[in-house]
């Protein structure tokens, strides 16, 4: 992840770079970021965080988080990514009813008369959710008092501009300018 920080306060620049890296690693999103541009102007105050993701967040299907096999009329699922276990169970309960979904162990599930193709194609997390998680982490990095926020989300590039009082058109224009520049530099 390449991070560029611009701002007049040298201590703040370095501190926010570390804070950003730390928080993104904590929420497990650092790996999905290609480029980050941070503009810090505490005097105004205006903070602009622009991220370019490595790839466009795509929807997660059940087949991405489990290994599936069919034995006669039974479909067996072995969960490989436990983060999605609650979503998988809830989707299966919705499709087949609680009585027909047998969770044998923490990772193993058996379904009587199940359709492995339909199960595999079921969406458990949309790409939008992944984007929202990244935006949530960016909000954690921003100073707490900087409450007036404006988001720009386009394909792989996400920008959040934040100020303390009114988000004027002038500040939004600055945010757009930074957003387009970072997007252009990254050839998105």
């Amino acid at each position: 992840m390449e991070i560029e920080v611009t701002g007049a306060d040298t201590f703040g620049n370095e501190a926010y770079k570390k804070l950003f890296e730390g928080l993104m690693s904590e929420v497990g999103k650092a790996i999905s970021l290609e480029k980050v541009n941070i503009v810090l102007d505490p005097a105004r105050p205006l903070f602009i965080f622009t991220l370019v993701l490595r790839s466009r967040p795509e929807s997660k299907k059940i087949s991405d988080a489990v290994s599936l096999r069919t034995e006669g009329k039974e479909v067996h699922l072995t969960i490989t990514d436990e983060n999605y276990a609650p979503e998988i169970l809830s989707a299966l309960w919705k499709m087949y009813g609680r009585d027909n979904v047998d969770q044998q162990t923490r990772f193993d599930i058996k379904i009587e008369n199940g359709d492995d193709e339909a199960i595999g194609e079921t969406v458990i997390a949309s790409g939008e959710d992944a984007k929202q998680e990244i935006i949530g982490a960016m909000w954690r990095v921003l100073p707490e008092g900087i409450k007036a926020r404006y988001n720009i989300s386009e394909d792989r590039t996400i920008t959040i501009a934040a100020t303390e009082e009114i988000m004027t058109q002038e500040l939004k224009d600055i945010a757009f300018e930074v957003h387009n520049k970072v997007k252009g530099d990254a050839n998105v």
């Binding site: 306060d9 201590f11 703040g12 501190a15 926010y16 570390k18 804070l19 730390g22 928080l23 904590e26 810090l40 505490p42 005097a43 105050p45 954690r140 100073p143 707490e144 008092g145 900087i146 409450k147 303390e164 009082e165």
Partner: protein, 303 residues
Amino acid sequence: MYDGGIYRSNELLEMIEDVGGVVLQKTRSAQMFTVTMSIPGEDKEAMEKMCTAIGGMVRSVPLAGTEIAVVGPTLGRHHMPHPICDIAEVLRQSGAITVVMGLARGRGKATSQISMQEMDIINEYDAAVFVLGNFKSCVEAKKHLFEKIKVPVILVSGPMPDGMEDSCEAVVSGVGRKSERMRTPDERKKLEEISERVEDVLRTRKRTIEEDPLFVHPAEIKQLLEEYEPIKESLRPAPMVLHLDGLRLKVPMKENAGEISEMVVYGRKLGDIARISESRIDDSSMIIRIMTMSEVKDRDGNA
């Protein structure tokens, strides 16, 4: 401070009494036992021997007998738990009792505020450590949060702010907002620096108190109150906390103030030589501020 097991700890407590010392704080957690004590200097060596003999460790705790508030702009996840809790922890290691406090509206450069009640609560402690953020202009703009606080204030911030000379007693820079524990050698050193600055500030405060000494040392009032039934029965972890100029008692003011103010110390009623008031935190604790010798004399003269 003795830090060890509960085994033979009664011998330690007897020895503290024999040498004319005082137990400032006693904490037991399962088989672990810590005792913060104040003893005469000439008995230190004998006390160390005794502590080693019963399998514990003894170390000097310069902040013993003080209660310090560590204050952040809010209790939100932006400021908590790091570095506020790291600072509170290092002060506890030096013997202080600490509380962590977040202001209701302390965040924001232009919108930060502190209420009168929050100031009153902070003024109940011996000192306050204010922990602010990463931008110089923001730290300087938040000076108003602590400039009216009456107890000594130590400011901990990221960059070194300008113009703080009249607003706080000491400034430690190089900390700021953090997303993880302060555990690198440089960060541990910074925490030690904060602890040393707090010690310096409180040493000055002790000297100021010595210029016009208190009528009675807070530890003597503590000894007197140890036999007071509601305090003996209190289940709160530290029902009595020593301050430099008094004590915090964690028993309700309404039910206990009358009896406590009638207690006799050196032939005087406690109510006559100390100001007893309810804590601004809630009605379940009270603050005793002992008057100085000159205040008591002045009061006697006016009577």
